[in-house]
């Protein structure tokens, strides 16, 4: 089983990102379970989305204690509580213009930054970063397949379909190049 946690602020699309990622894994024949927990949900407050992926039925109904991969929509949320949810060796992708060296200073984990804001802007997506972050995250995780991910984004995006797909693919390709170097 792969366990994934996505953390963002209400309105950024963390819950949507969890759903899109689940759909991509599901389209590849995997079993999925994704759920978000939030309180009095309002824009700006932290929202956590959890995703489990497995080959068989998923029956667990509890929070993820140690995630295999984490995606953080906002580097201001990258604190010790969040990093404690990472299994040793987990992949942590964070939306940040900072460098990997700057971010690894916060703990013993290897943190991979994706400048989602810059990629979104380059692709005429304004402040909407979730397609770019999904592309980067998929590259860091090595799955699901990027073409499947892009197809799901294209089907689901309510507007700017081509721009969403382009942002996803650009982030993926940038990250894949970095992964090859490392």
């Amino acid at each position: 089983m792969i366990e994934i946690i996505i953390l963002g602020r209400g309105g950024q699309g963390a819950q949507t990102a969890g759903n899109l990622l689940a759909q991509a894994f599901f389209a590849m024949g995997r079993q999925v379970q994704t759920f978000a927990t939030y309180g009095g949900a309002r824009r700006g407050t932290p929202v956590m989305s959890s995703l489990r992926v497995d080959d068989g039925p998923i029956r667990l109904r509890c929070n993820i204690v140690q995630a295999d991969a984490l995606l953080c929509f906002d580097d201001s949320l990258l604190d010790a509580d969040f990093l404690a949810l990472a299994r040793p060796g987990a992949r942590i992708v964070v939306n940040s213009p900072r460098t990997s060296q700057d971010l690894t200073g916060t703990g013993p984990h290897r943190i991979i930054p994706v400048d989602g804001r810059a990629i979104a802007r380059r692709n005429d997506m304004g402040k909407v970063v979730n397609s770019a972050l999904l592309g980067g995250f998929v590259a860091a995780l090595g799955q699901p397949d990027i073409d499947t991910m892009c197809r799901i984004i294209e089907q689901s995006a309510p507007a700017r379909k081509a721009e969403n797909v382009a942002a996803c693919r650009e982030a993926h390709d940038l990250m894949a190049a970095i992964a090859e170097e490392a």
Partner: protein, 388 residues
């Protein structure tokens, strides 16, 4: 029931949308609804279906849950098939009319999303909202995953309309209501054949001079409760039949009590709602390690299937009751109910009441596994134990 096996008929949806699909397929005539977190996606999906012309029920959106239930009673009294949904504060605001609906024998189906009541404010999975309505005369069923919720809400119409009693189906906030996973949708024809319209005994008709719920004397009121007892006594069999007929059509089994790996079990976990899924994994881990553990899922809570529960529990040395609720001054409601159910039994199991997940606290599989090891054959106490 187990999580569904993946096949090409599966669609990804959350538990609340699975309920909305079940309701759409059950084709109610009237649906009075008021939004509340975390029930709102049920209402939103039904409105979406209505806007697409796929849901023809009269959707009423009054100013409160109390009025929503008043609308349910009035529509049901005219013979309509009626659905509503709510959660927590909303269910509690309906409380007065829950008694009315049951006393007037209205076969309303309600879906409640289990959520902590205030104070303090919370939005978390906890079953005290519906368990505190146990004396209102509603049948209560609890489901463990989105597929179970879809299947059970459809079965609830059959049970309600056969018994002339209202039925409340419950699932836990977030862990089921907002959990997106593969769900198999039955066809509209299949559900229509499963849910034929039944002639109603108690029904208002403008051509016949008649009242429903009019003032009565003491003896007449007393008689209504005796009649409700008779109706309640038939619910377990109706639930069994509803489950068997559904399984014949869909292959998915369900029953008032469900068992998982209880053959030769020395310890059994007793669960209700979403924790059942985690407990299945805990049982697998314990069995793999040589601990003879099993699971008893209570799907029908009201009326409690007493005879079957006693017969089932007599087979085990130790029973751990897991309560995701807390009744101040007593403990877990399910623990209380099962203690009472075991009254006078010589071969009752050693019973332990564990307050696990109260307030929506996450209960990981490792915790359930450790609890089972710790309590296997341990001395019992009537008092509840808070799980850390």
């Amino acid at each position: 029931m187990n999580a569904p096996v993946l096949n090409e008929d599966m669609r990804l949806m959350n538990g609340n949308h699975a309920v909305a699909w079940g309701v759409r397929l059950a084709v109610p005539d009237v649906a009075p609804l008021y939004p509340i977190t975390p029930q709102t996606p049920i209402l939103e999906k039904l409105i979406e279906f209505q806007s697409q012309g796929q849901f023809k029920a009269e959707l009423l959106t009054p100013e409160s849950e109390h009025s929503a239930m008043a609308g349910c009673i009035a529509a049901s009294a005219l013979g309509a098939r009626v659905f509503t949904a709510t959660s927590s504060q909303g269910l509690l605001l309906m409380h007065e009319l829950l008694h009315y609906a049951a006393g007037a024998r209205m076969p309303i189906v309600m879906f409640n999303v289990n959520r902590t009541p205030a104070a303090p404010w919370g939005f978390w999975p906890d079953q005290i909202d519906s368990l505190s309505q146990r004396d209102t005369g509603w049948v209560q069923l609890y489901t463990e995953n989105p597929q179970d919720s879809l299947d059970t809400v459809i079965q609830a119409f059959r049970i309600a309309e056969s018994a002339g009693l209202p039925v409340m189906v419950n699932h836990d906030a977030f862990y089921v209501s907002h959990s997106v996973e593969p769900v198999s949708l039955p066809s509209a024809d299949l559900v229509q054949s499963y849910l034929p319209r039944q002639a109603r005994e108690i029904k208002l008709d403008t051509t016949i001079g008649r009242s429903v719920g009019a003032p009565v004397d003491q003896v007449q009121w007393n008689r209504t409760r005796r009649e409700m007892q008779i109706a309640m006594a038939g619910i377990a069999d109706l639930t069994v039949q509803a489950g068997q007929d559904w399984a014949a059509l869909t292959g998915r089994k369900s029953a008032p009590l469900e068992f998982y790996k209880t053959e030769g079990a020395e310890i059994v976990l007793v669960t209700m709602g979403s924790m059942t899924g985690t407990a299945r994994d805990a049982v697998d881990r314990l069995r793999a390690d040589g601990v003879k553990a099993g699971l008893l899922k209570l799907r029908l809570f009201r009326p409690l299937p007493l005879a079957d529960l006693r017969a089932a529990l007599a087979r085990f040395g130790t029973a751990l009751v897991l309560d995701r609720n807390y009744s101040p001054g007593t403990g877990g409601v399910l623990h209380q109910e099962i203690k009472a159910a075991l009254f006078g039994m010589d071969d009752a199991p050693g019973l332990h009441g564990l307050l696990a997940g109260v307030g929506g606290v996450s209960v990981p599989v490792e915790t359930l596994e450790a609890l089972a090891r710790e309590h296997l054959g341990a001395p019992t106490s009537p008092d509840p134990i808070w799980v850390e």
